[in-house]
Structures are given as C-alpha cells and as structure tokens.
C-alpha cells in the first residue's frame, strides 16, 4: 500500500484539504445549500405573484413593512435567484462537485493535476458566494437589475450591484482555476490504456464544459471590470451621453454603449447554459448505460456532437439580442447558428433514447431521474426553437415563454440529472445506500410539480405576459385571461418545495445508516466503481492504479459470464 497514512488534523483533512474527493464534497454541500436558498427566494417571490400585495407568511417579518414584498425587493430576489441558481448552485454542483470527485476516479488518476489550485478554487468560490450573500445586507438590498445586469440600469443601481460584481469576479476566478485543473487532469493524468475514445461520456462532458468555462468566462470578467469602473470610477463604457434619470441629467462623459455589455455578457452566458447542460448529459449517460445493462448507442456520435455543441455555443449568443435592433445579415447569421446548434442536441437526445432499445431496464431512483430528464430536456430544448427564429421571438422575447423554456432545461432537466447523480453516486461517496422508497416518492412528486410550475409558463408566455413583473401581470389586460395560472404555478412551487423533504430526509437517514461494504452495488463498469472501495481510499484513490483495456460501457458483452465488463478487465 502506497497510500498516505500520515496523521492529519481535522482541519487539514476536512477543511483545507487538497484531496479532490473532500473538495468535491465541500463543493457539493455548499452548492446544495445555495440551491435550497435560491429556491426559497423563489418560493417567496411566487407568493407575491400568486397573491399580489398580501403579506408573505413565515418570512414576512424579515421583509419589512406589513410583510408585503416591495417591488424593488422582488427585482432583487429575482436577480439573486438567477445568479444563485446558476453560479452558486448548479455550476458548482455539476462541475465543481461531480467533476472534482469523479473525473479523477473515472480516468484512474490519484488526484487532480494541481491539488492546491483545486483547494484555492473551492475557497475562491466560497468567498465569492459569501460576498454574494453580503449583497442582501447592504443599503438598497442585493443586486436588482436581473441576473443579466443590463446597463444603464445596472450602472445606476444601488450598492448591491457593486457587491454582485465583486462576487462575480471571485466566482469567475474560481471557475477558471477549476477548469484549468479539470483540463490538465484529463489531458495528463489518464491512466495507462485510457485513450480518448475510451473515456466515459461523463468525463468528456466535464472536459468540454471546462473548455467552455476557460474561454467564455474571461470576457465576462473583463465586462465586470468595466462595469465596476462605470460604477466606481465614473467612466461611461456602457452609458451614452444625455441620459436623464428621474429628472436629473447625468453628467457622465458618455460615448459608451449598452450593447457592449450585452455582447460581453452573452458571450459568456450562452456557453454558460451549455455548462449547465453538458454535465447533466454526462450523468444521465452514465446512469442510463448502467441501468439498461447495454452499451450507449453511438458513443462516437455523442462525443462528436458534444464537441461540436461546445464549439458552436460560442457563436450563437446574439440570439438573446434580436430585439436590440439587429440588422438582417447578422440576424440571419445568428438565427442560422442557433438552428445549427439544435441539431447536435437532437443527435444527443436521440442517441440516449436509442440506447434504451434492447436494454434490460432497471427502474431504480437514479434511473427514474435520468429518464425524467429526457422528455423534460426535450420540452425545454424544443421550445428553444421558436425563440431561435427572430420572427417568432418578436412575440416571445422576454415573456414567460422564455422562462418556461430554460427552466424546463435547468430545473426538471439539469436538477433532475443532478439528483440522478447524487442517488447514483451516493453509495460510492459514503459506502451506504439511499432509501429507494423515499427516492421514488421524491422523483414522482418532483416530476408532477415541476411540470405544474413550468408548463403554465408557456401559456402565459404565448399570451405575451412579460417576465420580471412584480404583480405577475395583473396590471395588463392582455394577461387577464391567464392570470389565474399564477396561483397554480405558485402552489405547485410550494408543493415542489415540500417534495424536497423526501430528499432531505432520505439523505439524513441514509447517512445515519450502516455501511454496506459493497464496492460496486450497481454492477457498473467504469473505474470509479470497479477499482476502488466505497468510499474510495484517502489520498491516492487506488490500491493499485488500474490499467484500462476496454471501452466504458461494455455491458452484456456476448459470451461473457457477467453482464458487465469493467474497463480494467483484460479480455
């Protein structure tokens, strides 16, 4: 045994650890807490939407006068919900936690390429998230210009926006360190025999995600610095001259352009949405292959599609900006690229669907979440198509249709995939099993209520109801016929919240439970299951670093005794 056994204090072992597994768990816990927090913000907002201007139960006292949510606070909760869910919740969970924990295990590496950088990345994220949280306590409340922070609104917003910008700069730096680490790890530390085409799809998705983060995030960092300059040093990068805000003529020098921010922001934020979905594809692929007991259909086409998707995601960003007055030729360019990028998604989804054919499908909790992911992502992705056609987007832009579109992808999509991942890898991380009954209840209730929250959004969106409306559209006549849906959605959201209790309770009792001692409870093939114990050993991961002989999804190989052939098995 070559594993380090030297004594470590609690602090170096669990807090300032450089072990990728501990860091992964740190990422996981922090991001789950933020996810829950982001969700709570939204449950508060949904109360105002369902029952405008009535006092909010339970938390009303925190909110202030009469417990009614004021409109500026609605805006700030909305902006923070978006920011928290994306930058503090899903990305750190999907990329920071799962990526950190399982990429080295799946490629047979003993740790990440740069363990210290890894810890730095987590602490940077932690600090950034604390800064984001501080935003709630500054005068004027947290950032309230939407997660998109469009100037000039964001330039003239309250102090919370400055805090938001500092938080973002920290988070971006953290992501950069994390992505460098994942890239270097995958390129340099693959074990013997682990060629590119033998990598599990999960590793591929993390790899491409890391590339997206590496190249797309820095321009937002630049934009963030420019906006900070606008706010703190009085520059006017995003402000033309001659603005009159509440009767006061602004005295800034002018000459800037609000569209510059939008370009730099969406240059990140479109690739970012693929950052949200690619790891989900990866997890779902692992779970589906494992539970159909057969290889994934079209491994190569999956890989190529994902690489292509990653590449294309850099040239579609202006589909968020059709209505900024875009001309025809550049409009045509972005519409075309947007349609092109939908094709690899179709290919990926089709490959996953076809993988089910001929399988021997086990419906356990992770599989249910993975299966739930497919049609939900389907709905979300398909509703992206009308948005991608500028002509249709004229009516749908910035309505609840858009909100419905992306929530179908990120909530019953990505979040389900993340749940699938948590249930699937829980035995790996803890050596214990989760409760199937509670897991299934969690799935079915979440599935129903997710649809209850998001399906009506398409209806409201088609009616032309704008997003980010404090009164849920009550003031507008064109919303009158669909207003009743606000209550439906809100009640679903709260029930969705309650359904999460199954998850939380499940986690608590399972963590308290006995270790099962099984290393490979799902009969899986990848190295994370077959060459390590559960939970994996401390620093070092493997008793003996494995060598890889076959592809990642060799299930039910004809002529072999067992229905799975581990990657490290000769033969």
């Amino acid at each position: 045994m070559t594993i380090d056994h030297h004594k470590q204090s609690f602090w170096t072992k669990y807090v300032f650890s450089t072990d990728h597994k501990i860091i992964g768990i740190q990422y996981g816990i922090t991001s789950l807490v933020w996810l829950l927090f982001g969700f709570v913000l939204m449950m508060i907002m949904r109360y105002q939407l369902a029952y405008p201007e009535s006092p909010i139960p339970f938390v009303g006292g925190l909110i202030g006068e009469g417990g009614i949510l004021p409109s500026e606070m609605y805006n700030s909760l909305g902006a923070m919900h978006g920011t928290i869910m994306i930058f503090l919740g899903v990305v750190p969970l999907a990329f920071g936690a799962f990526g950190n924990y399982f990429v080295p295990l799946q490629i047979g590496a003993i740790d990440m390429a740069f363990p210290k950088l890894n810890a730095a990345s987590y602490w940077m994220y932690f600090l950034g998230s604390v800064i984001m949280g501080i935003g709630f306590f500054v005068p004027g409340g947290a950032a309230n210009s939407g997660w998109t922070s469009y100037p000039p609104l964001a330039d003239i917003a309250t102090t919370g926006q400055t805090v938001w910008l500092f938080g973002m700069v920290m988070l971006i730096t953290s992501s950069l360190l994390g992505s460098i680490n994942i890239l270097a790890t995958v390129i340099q530390l693959r074990t013997e025999g682990m060629t590119w085409m033998k990598l599990p799809i999960f590793v591929w998705t993390q790899f491409i995600t890391a590339f997206l983060l590496l190249l797309a995030f820095p321009p937002l960092e630049a934009a963030g610095v420019l906006q900070l300059m606008d706010r703190l040093a009085g520059t006017s990068f995003f402000m033309p001259s001659g603005l009159v805000v509440s009767g006061e003529v602004l005295t800034n020098a002018g000459g800037g352009s609000p569209l510059l921010w939008q370009h730099l922001f969406w240059f990140l934020a479109h690739p970012e949405v693929y950052v949200l979905i690619l790891p989900a594809f990866g997890i779902v692929t692992e779970v589906i292959a494992n539970n159909t007991r057969k290889p994934i259909q079209g491994y190569k086409s999956l890989v190529y599609s994902m690489v292509f998707l990653g590449f294309m995601s850099f040239v579609v960003w202006a589909h968020h900006m059709y209505l900024t007055g875009m001309g025809t030729s550049i409009g045509a360019f972005f519409q075309t690229t947007t349609m092109i990028i939908s094709i690899p998604s179709v290919v990926i989804l089709t490959a996953l669907l076809l993988s089910l054919w001929g399988g021997s499908i086990r419906f356990n909790t992770p599989m249910l979440f993975a299966l739930g992911f497919l049609p939900m992502f389907g709905i979300g992705g398909l509703t992206g198509l009308p948005l991608g056609l500028a002509a249709a987007d004229i009516h749908l832009h910035d309505t609840y249709y858009v909100i419905g579109h992306f929530h179908y992808i990120v909530a019953p999509g990505t979040i389900f995939a993340l749940f699938a991942g948590i249930y699937y890898w829980f035995p790996k991380m803890t050596g214990k099993r989760t409760n199937e009954m509670l897991g299934k209840l969690h799935f079915f209730f979440s599935f129903i209520f997710m649809n209850g929250v998001f399906m009506p959004m398409f209806i409201q969106g088609l009616a032309g109801v704008s997003r980010r409306l404090w009164d849920g559209g009550e003031i507008y006549a064109h919303a009158a016929d669909v207003l009743y849906l606000n209550e439906v959605m809100s009640v679903s959201a709260w029930l969705l919240g309650l359904s999460q209790l199954f998850f939380i309770i499940n986690m608590i009792i399972s963590l308290k439970g006995e270790k099962t001692g099984e290393a490979n409870p799902w009969d899986a093939t990848t190295l994370d299951w077959t060459d390590t114990t559960s939970p994996p050993l401390g620093h070092g991961n493997f008793e003996k670093v494995p060598t890889v002989y076959c592809g990642p999804y060799e299930y039910s190989v004809p002529g072999s005794k067992e229905d799975f052939t581990p990657q490290s098995k000769k033969g």
Partner: protein
Amino acid sequence: MDIPFTVKNRPDTGLYNGKLGVWLFLASEVMLFGGLFSAYVFLRTGVDSWPVGADILNVPLATLNTMFLITSSVTMVMSWASLKLNDFKKFKLYAGLTLLLACLFLVVKYFEYTAKFDHHLFPSTNNFLGIYFTMTGLHVLHVIGGIFVIYYYWRKFDHNHRTLINNIFCALFLVAIFTNWDEGIKGYETTNGLISIVLLLVALVSSRKEQFKLKTKYLILGTFFVGALGIFNFHGTGYYLFLFLGLLAIADSFIFKSNTTYESDPEHFTNRIEIVGLYWHFVDLVWIFLFPVLYLL
C-alpha cells in the same frame, strides 16, 4: 503517492502538467484581454471622434517602457537558459535584471499616471482615458503579479541574498519615512517616526547577522505596524509606497518560506522558471499590443 508528470513529460502529450496548466491559463488570459480589446474596438467604432493617444499620452516614456519590458523578456528567457546550462549564478543575474526592469516599468507607469491625474485627466474624463486606465491598470496588476512570482524564485535558497534584500527593504523604509518627514515631524507623529527609525536601524544591523535572522522578521513586522499607525499622518504618494513596501516586507518574511527546490530537484526548478517565463512573456506580449493601440493610434 505523487501525482505523475509534475516534472517529467507525459510520453504521449510530451508535456509536464505545469506547462499545460500555464498555457491553459494564458488561453484564458487571451480571452480576458480579448474582452477588453473587443470593448475598445466596439467603443471606438461606435463614436464619431476618438482622441489620438499620442496627443494625450506620453509616447517617449511609453517607448522607454516598451524597451524595458522587451528587455526584461529576453533576460527572463536567458535566466531559464542559464538554468538549462546549470549556471545558477547567471540565473540569479538574469532573473535579477528582469526584476529590476519590471520595477522600472512600474516606476515609469507611476509617473505617467500621476502626470495624468495632475492634469485632471481621469478615467471618467472620456472613454479613451477610461479604457486606457482600465487596460493598462490590469496590465500593471499582471506586472506586479509577475514581479512577486519572479522574486519568489529569485530570492529563496541564498541566505546572503536574503539578508541583502532585507537590508534593501530597510533602506527603502527609511527613504519612505524621510520623504514624509516634513509632514510627520510634529507632535506624536515624531515619536512614531522615531520608533520606526530605531526599529529599522535595529533591523538593519541585526539582519546582517545570521543568528538574528528570526528576530529580523519580527522587527520588520513591528516597524510596519508602527509605521502603519502613522498612516493617519502620512499623506501623499510616499504613504502608498510605504504601505506597499511594508506589505512586501511581510510577504518576504512570512509567506515565502525558504525553498530548496533547486538543490533537491533542479529539473523541477527549471520547469518552474520556464512556466514563470511563459507568463512573463505573455505580459510582455500584451504590452506589445497595448502600446500601439493606446498610444499611437
């Protein structure tokens, strides 16, 4: 168990981890400065008139600065080559030159900035100056980062040098204090200043003696804090210099532990210098574009 390929190249990629890592980092840096260049182009094409950099900025000084950076780049690569030839003395010489040139760059930049401020030219004056200060400011941060890193590798391992550095710091402290002497002379500030000076002198003397080494660092730290009390008295630029040097002294004494990589693993050390060099050349490269774009066009 050690992580593989931290020193040796992985056979199929031909790279060690650090080198790949730094190139990935530089890729992200390209995009960071890319965002700013993109902003520059976007803003400039969006308006009718745009000042010519040369009318506002000081081209001769910037040319001098360009020369400093280019030279520092070549000394940097020479320092790495010296290590490859196992000539440690030469390494020290070249890396030291690099540091010196980088510091000169900062000094020139400092005068450029203050000259602008004196003429009431601020980032808020117009977008040209805004982008000028943002881009060069970010570049300066990169230079400072580079100085720290190079210094980190340059100063370790040699005890005599270490003491020398401490002495230089002390001397700089004195300069910092004397530049503010006229302001700090009155009332209790004087005591403050005097305590600093006494402490510094002790530090200066003691740092020459090996056995006082440990005490030196506490003394320097103490000086810093006493001096920091004087922040309220010191105004103007000398104060910032003072603060900066104080920070450096702390960093020098505490953060940077004595490192013996070169003795134990010269190859590892050489690799690290290669990585630092790559970063440093990149900083130079950015300047090569910033210079014409901001000053000449």
